[in-house]
C-alpha cells in the first residue's frame, strides 16, 4: 500500500471513529440535536491559568461536530472516563442572569464576583467550536451571543465553523460592530485547501475561513490568525502565502503554538498520529520523543532549535507588517508582543474593551523581562508573589478546586482545600513537575535562589539564538 492509499485509509477510519464518538449518547438519525436536560459546568477556569491571560474559558456544546485530526479537545475528552457521551450545554438563563449581576446560583454568582463585574474577557472556544454544526442545527448559543452583544461584554471567539455565515449571526455581529466588544480568532493551519481537507474533516476550507476573517475585519472587529497547532511538515508549506492572506484579510495578530503529541495515547489517537506521520514524513511519536526535552514530561512539544526557523519567519513578518506576534508555545513565548498569547492587544485605543485580560500570569512577565533585557541589557528576576500578586480572587477560592485538573485523584479532604493559587505555588517550587517555569520554558527562566517566603526566584536567561537574530538585524525589543 503506498503513502497516498494509507493516508486515505487512515482518514476514512478516523472519520468513522469520530462519527461513533458523536453517536454515543445520541439518537442515530438526529445525532446533532441536543436533548439532554443536564448542564455542563461552563464557563470554567482554564487549567493553563499560570501563563494564560484569559482564565475565563467557555465552550457551549460538550462535543464538536468537526473532526480535526490534531484536536486536543478530542484527545482530552476521549481519554476522560467521566466524560458524558450525550451532548450537553450550559445553563444559558442562569449565565445571562449572572452577566447582568442578578442572583443566579453559587457558581455563576462567583463568576460574576471574580470576572463579570470587572468585565474580564470571556474566551469562547477552548475545546469545541462555537460555530460548528451543533450550533447550525440547535441555535441554542444564539441567545447568549445576543445577550453578550446587548451587555457589550468583551468576548473572544476562537473558531473555524461555518455557522457564522448564516444571516442571523452575521446580522447580529453587524448590529454590535460599533461596540467592538467581540474579537475573532480564526484557526487555520494550512495554506492549502486540499491539505486542510485531509487533516480537518468536516471543516470549512482555508479559503472559506479567510472569507470569514475578511467579513469580520470589514465590520471593524479585531481578528486574529490562530496558527495553532503549527504542524511541522504541513503548516510550513507556503507559510509566507498563508501569512500574506491573513494580513490581506485584515488579521491584526498572529498567535502560534506548535503541535504537541502526548505519550498517553488511546487507540483513536494512535490512528490520528499515523495519519499525521504519513503526511509529515516520519513516525510521529518516536520523532516527538527524540526531539522533546525530558524535563517537560509526557506532553511532547519538540524543542527550540526545531521550531526556530518557523518562529523567526512569522516574527519577522509581524514586525514588517505591524501585526502583533503572539506565541502560546513555551518555546519563544518571551517573543510575545502582547502579554496575551491569543494575540489580543495590550493598550489599544481602538479596542479598549479587549485590553481587559489578566497581567498576573507568566506570559506577561516573561515578555516584560525579554523587553527589558533587549532594551536595557538588564536581566530581570521573577518571584511567585511578583507574578501573581494581583491575581483575581478566584486564585484563592477553594470553591474552584474541582475545576483544576490536578485535583483528580486527590482525597476529598485535600481536594476541597486546594486553590488555584496553592497549586500554582507547588508547581513554581517543584523541579520535578513539567509545569515548573524552568522546565516548561526549558531554560528561559533559571532558578537563582529563594525568597524570604522560601519560593524559588527565577532569572531571565538570554540564549544563543537571541544573539544570532540581533546580528541579522531583527528587533527583539518589540
Amino acid at each position: 500500500m503506498d503513502n497516498i492509499q494509507r493516508i486515505k485509509k487512515y482518514r476514512k477510519n478516523i472519520a468513522e471513529d469520530y462519527k461513533k464518538f458523536l453517536l454515543e449518547g445520541a439518537e442515530d438519525k438526529n445525532y446533532l440535536e441536543v436533548r439532554s436536560l443536564k448542564f455542563t459546568r461552563n464557563p470554567r477556569l482554564s487549567s493553563e491559568y499560570t501563563d494564560c491571560a484569559l482564565p475565563l474559558t467557555f465552550d457551549f456544546y460538550s462535543k464538536c461536530s468537526m473532526s480535526c485530526v490534531y484536536c486536543f479537545g478530542y484527545y482530552f475528552k476521549s481519554s476522560n472516563p467521566s466524560f458524558s457521551p450525550e451532548v450537553r450545554i450550559p445553563d444559558v438563563k442562569k449565565m445571562i442572569l449572572s452577566l447582568e449581576g442578578k442572583k443566579s446560583n453559587r457558581r455563576h454568582d462567583l463568576f460574576y464576583k471574580y470576572f463579570y463585574k470587572d468585565r474580564h474577557i470571556l474566551h469562547w472556544g477552548g475545546l469545541t467550536d462555537p460555530f460548528c454544526y451543533y450550533e447550525k442545527v440547535n441555535k441554542r448559543a444564539f441567545p447568549l451571543i445576543k445577550a453578550l452583544g446587548e451587555f457589550s461584554y468583551p468576548t473572544l471567539f476562537s473558531f473555524k465553523g461555518s455557522t457564522i455565515f448564516d444571516d442571523k449571526y452575521l446580522s447580529l455581529f453587524e448590529k454590535y460592530s460599533k461596540q467592538k466588544n467581540f474579537a475573532f480568532q480564526i484557526s487555520i493551519v494550512s495554506n492549502s485547501d486540499k491539505m486542510a481537507r485531509l487533516i480537518e474533516i468536516k471543516v470549512p476550507s482555508t479559503t472559506r475561513r479567510f472569507e470569514a476573517m475578511k467579513i469580520l475585519s470589514n465590520m471593524g472587529y479585531f481578528t486574529s490568525l490562530r496558527l495553532r497547532p503549527f504542524i511541522i511538515g504541513i503548516t510550513d508549506k507556503d507559510l509566507d502565502i498563508l501569512l500574506e492572506r491573513a494580513r490581506d484579510a485584515g488579521a491584526r495578530s498572529v498567535s502560534v503554538e506548535f503541535f504537541a503529541a502526548d505519550v498517553r495515547t488511546s487507540r483513536a489517537m494512535k490512528l490520528r498520529y499515523k495519519l499525521l506521520g504519513e503526511i509529515i514524513g516520519t513516525d510521529l511519536l518516536p520523532y516527538f520523543h527524540d526531539l522533546s526535552p525530558s524535563e517537560r514530561g509526557g506532553y511532547l512539544r519538540l524543542n527550540r532549535l526545531v521550531k526556530e526557523s518557523y518562529v523567526k519567519k512569522i516574527y519577522k513578518f509581524c514586525v514588517d507588517n505591524d501585526i502583533i506576534f503572539a506565541c502560546s508555545d513555551p518555546d519563544f513565548k518571551e517573543l510575545n508582543m502582547t502579554g496575551c498569547c491569543c494575540g489580543l492587544p495590550e493598550n489599544s485605543e481602538e479596542y479598549p474593551l479587549l485590553n481587559n485580560w489578566t497581567r498576573s500570569q507568566i506570559t506577561w512577565h516573561l515578555k516584560e523581562l525579554r523587553r527589558e533585557y533587549h532594551r536595557t541589557g538588564k536581566r530581570g528576576v521573577l518571584t511567585f508573589d511578583k507574578v501573581y500578586k494581583d491575581a483575581s480572587g478566584y486564585f484563592n477560592d477553594t470553591y474552584f478546586s474541582d475545576d483544576h485538573v490536578k485535583t483528580v485523584g486527590m482525597c476529598n479532604v485535600d481536594r476541597k482545600r486546594q486553590t488555584f493559587g496553592n497549586m500554582a505555588r507547588m508547581e513554581w517550587n517543584n523541579f520535578r513537575t513539567p509545569g515548573n517555569p524552568r522546565n516548561y520554558f526549558h531554560g528561559k527562566l533559571m532558578p537563582v535562589g529563594l525568597t524570604a517566603e522560601k519560593d524559588i526566584i527565577y532569572k531571565y536567561n538570554p540564549q544563543e539564538w537571541e544573539d544570532r537574530w540581533k546580528k541579522e538585524g531583527i528587533d527583539l525589543g518589540k
Partner: protein
C-alpha cells in the same frame, strides 16, 4: 548549556549555530519531508538543562503552606472528631473555636444534629424530610 555559576547559564554558542547550519544545508539539498525529519532527528536534539544546586524550598515550608492542623486538648476530643471527619491535614485553630466544633460533635452524639457528607442538619428537620419522602 554551560553553568557559569548561580546567576547565569549561557548556552554553548557555537554548537547550536553549527547544528542549524548543517540542518539548513541538508534541507536545501532536498525538499522531501522524510529527509527533513531525518535531519531534524539527527541534528536538533535538545540539550538537558543544568541541575540546580542552590537552596530548595524546605519540606516544612511546603507543608506549612498547604497543610492545616487542629489542636485537640484531649485524646477523647480527637477520637470524637475522628469519628465524623476524615483526618488528613488541618490548620492550627484557636482553642475557643475548637469549643464550637466539639460542642457540635457532642450534640451529634446525643442525637440533636445529624452530620452527613460534611453538612449538618437539625435531627428533627431531617427526620421530617425523610418522613415526607417515604409518604411520597
Amino acid at each position: 548549556m554551560k553553568n557559569t555559576g548561580i546567576l547565569g547559564f549561557v548556552s554553548d554558542i557555537s554548537l547550536e549555530a553549527r547544528k542549524l547550519k548543517r540542518f539548513k544545508r541538508i534541507v536545501a539539498r532536498s525538499s522531501s519531508n522524510i529527509k527533513k525529519r531525518q535531519a531534524e532527528r539527527g541534528l536538533l536534539k535538545p540539550a538537558p538543562l543544568p541541575i540546580y544546586t542552590g537552596n530548595l524550598p524546605s519540606i516544612n515550608a511546603e507543608m506549612l503552606k498547604k497543610s492545616i492542623k487542629f489542636i485537640f486538648r484531649t485524646d477523647k476530643e480527637f477520637a470524637l472528631f475522628k469519628k465524623y471527619f476524615y483526618v488528613g491535614t488541618y490548620v492550627d485553630q484557636n482553642v475557643t473555636q475548637m469549643d464550637l466544633v466539639m460542642d457540635l460533635l457532642e450534640k451529634t452524639e446525643k442525637g440533636k444534629f445529624v452530620l452527613e457528607k460534611g453538612k449538618v442538619f437539625c435531627a428533627k428537620c431531617k427526620l421530617k424530610k425523610l418522613k415526607r419522602i417515604k409518604s411520597g
